[in-house]
Each structure stands twice: as structure tokens, then as C-alpha cells.
């Protein structure tokens, strides 16, 4: 009953906005402990408090029996805590060996790095996970999966007592996930604790002992995985009771009303590089076509190809029956395509600009008279969208960075709706927004389609796809492998379709 790590009453705010309040977490030695919660629930902040990246405002962190005084990642490493971050904290340009031993190099004469010994150690620790690669190659030459395992190898070689994994499987395929699980079990057998953060609840049942759920910066529950149902976890995460969820479904896509119309878009045998090798899609007016698949399956690359961001290496894209890929976003917009990118911060908002300026960015060419912006029309349009979409903002000249994630996302959605595209490509439109905004965004999408436009919807949440899309194109390793049609798709069918192609890629031509 002596916890390895015990965090309690943790408080942390950023610029006055609380990110954690009274959050707690307890990890036993040698257990695999899951940490779940929606985006923005405070999981990452919690981890960063534990590893000394952030300084906590209040509460206590006890490691072993001592109050922790970790104030930097280096301290955390020395206290036996190693973190595998979502964005890998490795240096792709440097060799595998360096990435494993960096900061703890074996020395000769106390000064010179002993590369022979370093390479040997790197090989040895990787061999424990069944990996045999040339450790002198730059890390960036290897797949994400290998890079991930190298990160874990680094942790293990530092004699970590606790390994924190943040979304470790998000970019792995099924066989790689199996390897990873093997590594996690191996760690547990050696008495190392693992804190496992994941969105994929099914995984937890395979490898986790206990699960802590967070919501809105608080710790909601800690349960034994073996005694918990998936629905209970979801209910904890959402703050709703289980019956409600079972009755309503998870999403707010009402059923399709519009009739399927003419073909808007056709892509045939499209390839843009190693990450997108064969992509077929047909989109009609009045329908939502989902792109299903794991991260790295080529969904985002497919969207980028349709929007003219990546040039085609092969294949044809037809818009309204005319072949020809847009030469870039500018031309795509003129050809009535819109693209809401996945990463809101990096590719969506312009943080210091106002809500108004952000919303009309894609519309700008149409707002201009001989290069001058028509401010009156701009204000009218922005006003209309703020009230239509229920965007909560003090005024339209408020900087967008001051808005909540959900409202930012609505502004970005408005950016595209304002251009009235025939084809709207949405990459993870509800990621990182709260439940309420999520449902609103989903209903906007459906009503837009009902007006006779077409939507390509990319989502990692199977519920969203299954309930939202009229058809789902399943993608795997850069190829569109099969197509499912609603009504009739269930999560199990979708997962089955994905899993079916994990075994071997001999079925993609079966469509």
C-alpha cells in the first residue's frame, strides 16, 4: 500500500485560467495505470506537473516516501520518471544510439564518449524489445513506431521506475501496437510502473490494471479496469450517466435528409508520395463521406491532395466532371472547396488577429473591391455567423486566442462556410472542443449538407464517423481499402474493416 507516486490536491492555472483544480493521481509500483479524459481535461498538464515541466500552484507530489522537489525534466529523469511524449522528444537528425544514451554517455578517461560501448548498450536495450536495427543510422530514417520504441528504450536504459506514455499508439499500426503492448507487459514484469494515457479505450482493457479519469481539470474517479465497463469510463469522461449515453448515442448528427445528388468530386488512384499511394473517393451532393483509419493511414494526406496542397504523383481528381487538381489552396477555394485542417493552433487560427479577421481570411478575395476590403460587408457577414453559430465572443474585434477551443473552432468553421464551398473537407472538426460545442458543430455540418453541399469528414472518433457519415471510405497505410455504407455501419463493423486489413494488404482491390 505504499504508492510509487502520489499526487493530491494539485492546482495549476495559466494566465488565471485554471487547468487543474484539486486533481489527484496515485500510481502503485509495478502497475500499468491508465489516465483518460477528453481533450482539455488536464491529463497533459498533470503529466507536465509530475515531470517538472510546469511548476504546480498548489498540492503535493510524493514520490516514494519523499515530497518531490522535481523542477525540471532532468530532475524527473534522475528521480526515475521517464516520459514518452506524443510529439516525440527525440532528435531525428542524430543517430539511434545518441538518442538513447544522450546525457548519460559511457566515457573513456572520464571525458571522451565511448561510442563502441554506447552502440553496444543501445543494441542490447533494443534487443530486449526484439528490435535489431543499425543504431548508427539517424533516427529520422526509421518509422514512427521504431522511434517510439527508441524513446521507450531510452527510458528503460535510464533505469526508470515510472514510464509515462502519452498516446503511444496513436501513430502505430496493429502489429506495432502488439509489439508495444509486449514491451509494456515486459516493463510491468520488471517492476516498472507505466502511466498510460490514451484515447483508445479498448486498449486499456488489454494492458491496464487501473484507470483514473479526469474531467475539467479534476480527478473524477479511479477504478480497477477489470471491474469496469467501457460505458462507465465514457460516462465519467463526459460527466453524463450511462443510460443517457446508451439512449442518445454519442453524437449529434441527425439522420440524412437530403437526397444524394450529382457527383461533386471523384478521385481515382490518387497518390502524392509514400504516405498516400492509392486513394479513390466519390462524393455526391448532399452526402457526408467519412474517411476512416488510424493516424498515419493517409487520411490527412488525402485531404491535402484534394485541396491542392500536395501535388499529385499519379491519378486523377475530377471536380464537377472536369479533371484537374487545384494548384494550391487559393485555386481550390476558387473551385469551391474548403478545408478545415486538423491542427487548429498550427494551421487554423491566427492568434493575434481578431475573430472578424480570422473568419473572413478565406473570403478575402470576394470581399475586395480593387484590392480594398469592403468593411461594411465584412461586418455583416461576421455578425451573421456569430449569431448563427452561437459563437461566444465579447465583440468581433476580440483576438481569437482569447476564445475557448470550441468557439475558435466555430470561427474556423465559419471561415469556410462563408466561402460557400460545394465541397467542405473537415479534418477532425470536433477535436479538442467540449461536448456542447461538439454537438453544435456536428449539427451545423449536417444542416450544411442538407442544403445540397458535400462534406468529406475525417475523424479519429469512430462514433462520429459511424453516426455522422453516409458512407465511410476506410484507409490503411496510404490506401483506400474498402468502403462501407450507412445505414448499417456499427463501430464493430468499422473496426472489423480496419482490422481486416491489418493482417495483410491483399484485400484492397476487393472493393
Amino acid at each position: 500500500m505504499n504508492a510509487l507516486v502520489s499526487m493530491s490536491g494539485i492546482e495549476k492555472s495559466f494566465a488565471g485560467v485554471p487547468a487543474l483544480s484539486q486533481a489527484s493521481l496515485e500510481i502503485e509500483p509495478g502497475e500499468v495505470h491508465a489516465l483518460i479524459g477528453q481533450n482539455g481535461a488536464g491529463k497533459s498538464t498533470m503529466i507536465k506537473v509530475l515531470t517538472g515541466v510546469y511548476r504546480r500552484d498548489g498540492g503535493s507530489v510524493v514520490i516514494g516516501r519523499r515530497e518531490s522537489d522535481i523542477s525540471s525534466p532532468r530532475d524527473a529523469q534522475e528521480a526515475g520518471i521517464a516520459t514518452i511524449y506524443q510529439e516525440l522528444n527525440l532528435v531525428p537528425l542524430r543517430s539511434v544510439t545518441e538518442n538513447i544514451i544522450m546525457g548519460y554517455e559511457p566515457k573513456r578517461l572520464g571525458l571522451f564518449v565511448d561510442w563502441r560501448e554506447g552502440n553496444r548498450r543501445a543494441l542490447e536495450v533494443l534487443a530486449r524489445f526484439g528490435i535489431d536495427i543499425d543504431v548508427t543510422e539517424p533516427l529520422g530514417n526509421f518509422s514512427t513506431a521504431i522511434q517510439q520504441l527508441v524513446a521507450i528504450a531510452r527510458a528503460v536504459s535510464l533505469d526508470a521506475k515510472l514510464v509515462i506514455m502519452d498516446e503511444p499508439t496513436s501513430s502505430l499500426d496493429a502489429s506495432e501496437v502488439e509489439v508495444l503492448f509486449g514491451v509494456v507487459r515486459e516493463l510491468r514484469n520488471q517492476g516498472v510502473s507505466v502511466l498510460y494515457v490514451s484515447h483508445f479505450l479498448d486498449e486499456l482493457f488489454q494492458i491496464c490494471d487501473r484507470v483514473t479519469t479526469m474531467r475539467d481539470g479534476r480527478t473524477v474517479s479511479t477504478r480497477n479496469v477489470s471491474e469496469t465497463k467501457k460505458l462507465e469510463m465514457i460516462a465519467d469522461m463526459l460527466g453524463r450517466n450511462t443510460d443517457e449515453i446508451a439512449a442518445e448515442g454519442m453524437t449529434d448528427f441527425a439522420g440524412a435528409k437530403a437526397k444524394r445528388g450529382d457527383i461533386l468530386l471523384r478521385s481515382e488512384n490518387v497518390s502524392t508520395g509514400p504516405r498516400l499511394t492509392h486513394f479513390d473517393l466519390t462524393l455526391h451532393r448532399g452526402e457526408i463521406v467519412g474517411l476512416g483509419g488510424l493516424l498515419g493511414s493517409g487520411r490527412t494526406e488525402a485531404a491535402r491532395a484534394l485541396f491542392g496542397v500536395d501535388a499529385l504523383e499519379d491519378g486523377v481528381i475530377e471536380l464537377d466532371g472536369h479533371p484537374g487538381q487545384p494548384s494550391g489552396p487559393g485555386e481550390a477555394i476558387r473551385k469551391r472547396i474548403g478545408f478545415l485542417p486538423e491542427d487548429r493552433k498550427a494551421e487554423g487560427i491566427i492568434p493575434d488577429m481578431s475573430v472578424r479577421e480570422n473568419m473572413t481570411l478565406a473570403l478575402l478575395p470576394k470581399l475586395a473591391k480593387r484590392g480594398q476590403i469592403d468593411f461594411e460587408r465584412e461586418r455583416e457577414i461576421v455578425d451573421a455567423f456569430i449569431s448563427d453559430l452561437g459563437i461566444k465572443t465579447a465583440h468581433m474585434d476580440q483576438p481569437i486566442r482569447e476564445l475557448s477551443g470550441g468557439n475558435q473552432q466555430k470561427v474556423l468553421l465559419a471561415r469556410w462556410l462563408a466561402t460557400e464551398p460545394d465541397i467542405l473537407i473537415l479534418d477532425e472538426p470536433t477535436r479538442g472542443v467540449d461536448v456542447g460545442a461538439k454537438r453544435e458543430i456536428q449539427s451545423f455540418i449536417r444542416s450544411y449538407v442538407d442544403k445540397g453541399f458535400g462534406v468529406v469528414l475525417i475523424s479519429s472518433e469512430f462514433e462520429e464517423l459511424v453516426e455522422g457519415a453516409d458512407r465511410i471510405v476506410v484507409m490503411h497505410e496510404g490506401r483506400s481499402v474498402t468502403e462501407l455504407a450507412n445505414p448499417g455501419i456499427t463501430e464493430n463493423i468499422l473496426v472489423g474493416a480496419l482490422a481486416h486489413h491489418d493482417a495483410g494488404a491483399d484485400t484492397w482491390n476487393a472493393q
Partner: protein, 325 residues
Amino acid sequence: MERTMKLPKRVASMPLRFHGGIVALVVLLVFNALFTPNFLQLQTLFVNISQVATIAIVAMGMTLVIATGGIDLSVGAVMALAGALAPLIFLSDLGAANPALGVALAIILPLLVAGLCGVFNGVMVAVLNVQPIIATLILFISGRGIAQVLTNGNLQTFSNPSFSYLGTGKILGLPFQGWLALVIACVLFWVITRTTWGRYLLAIGGNERAAFLSGGPVRRVKIGAYVICAVLSGFAGLIVVAINSASDAARNGNLMELDAIAAAVVGGALLQGGRAPIFGAILGAVIIQLVKYTLLANGVEDEVALIAKAAIIILAVWMQQLRRT
């Protein structure tokens, strides 16, 4: 309606650094009024305006480039190049035969060449994705080299009243170039606040990928910013030559890049991009000029003034970084 609604808000959200700039200006003015002999005379104002104009003109161009998240180290070299070309043209046989045409060409051609330098910088940055520091470092060094090669390193002196009007003319008793700077500022302010180009400029500096994915013509706008900056530098180079009635490729615009960056930063430009305070650049230029004048008028050596300037730049950027984090 737009103007009345926006201006007060803009001023209200005008960050501290702008007020800090005004405070610095007031302090400098008071100090000089008290300690510098003959400061409160029309002649002093005249001298300062005629000198601040070149810094202000270049600083405005620099502000546009900084707004894209870039930097232009080549402004001083472009000044030297444009300044070296002008006398070559109106002193040539053609220029001597047709004085009017000669002067017109002596203004237009150097500005064209300056614009080409801007295209070079812009293409390096926007098309080849070279970091702005490195891209503009090439002309920073070799631009002046070209100017020296053209003039063989000689000082070109001349007497050409119509060309010299650029640097010595007066309108309403104040220097021509002061008015020119003001006109440029008004035009640029209008461009930034009212045109799609200006909106894209700020959007690119704020988040280049987002601007690109929203259909923004990223390359065109960036190249445009470098071209405007270079043309304005060319203008400044011509003015310096006109003031001196002589062109010295080794000295014209020497260290101007630092003055311009300092003026832009003091005026509120963010090195990360996304903000283009044009009138701030003028304020910054005035402050830089006053510091120079104060040191000079109080008998501080030129060389020591360099060190003081270095300190000001560090201080200005440091205060900006402080606020940022």
C-alpha cells in the same frame, strides 16, 4: 463609420511599448531642452527632420518585412547601391545632354535596381525557404561590394540642384524628405489597414501555414514586402546622396540595418511577425535620431555612440521579449 469605430479601439489596445516609446521621446526632448545648447531652435528641428527621414523611410520598409516574420539586413547595402548608381547616370553623357531625362532616370533606375534586390531577397526567402537573416546577408555584404565596384571605390561628387532637391528642398519651410516620409507612411498605413494585401501580410506573420491554407498568396505577399522594403531603402540612399551632393559607396547607409531594426522594434513591431505599426516605426526613428543627436551635441564621440546604440537595441528587444512571455 469604420474609422470612428476602429481608431479608439486600436489606440486602447495599443501595447505598452508604444506608450513606452512616447515616454522615451518626452524624456529625450526634455533632456535636450535643458542641457543641449541651441536645441529649441528651428535650425535644430530642420536638421533632425532631414536626417530622421531616411531612417524612418527604411524603418517603415523594415516594419513590413518584420511583419512577415522576416528581417532584411541588406537595406544599408541597397542604399549604397542605389546611391552609387544615381550620379553615374546623371553624370553620364546621356544625362549631361538631357538634364531632365538624366535626373528622372537617375531616380527611376536606381529604384528599379533596388526593387530587383528586393525580388532577390524575397525569392530566396519565400521560394527557396532560406532563413531571412542568411538570405539578406548575401546582399548585406555583396550589395555594397557591387556599389564599390561600380564606382571603383571613389567618392563621386557632383553639383546638380534638381537632383539635390531630394535632400535639400523645402516645402513650407520643412525638408522635402520629411514630407516624403509622411506621405509614404500614410500610404502604407492605408495599405495595411484597408487592403487585402495588408490583411494577408499580417496573417502571414501571425501564422503562415494558416494563411496559406486559407488561400493567402504567401509567396507573392512576402516577396512584395521585401521589394517595398528594398525600394524604400533605395529611396533613402538617393536622399543621402542628394543631401551630401556626393556618393560614397563605403559609407552610404552603413549600419542602417541596425537603425531600421531598432526603430521598427522600438515602434512596436514584433520580431515574430504579425504586427506592422507604421507610425510606430516613425516614432522609433525619431527616438533613434534624437539619441544620436543628443550624444553628438553633448560631445560624445561617434564611436561611443555606436555602443550606446547597441545597448538601445538590446534593451528594446529585451523588453519586447519580457512582455511576450
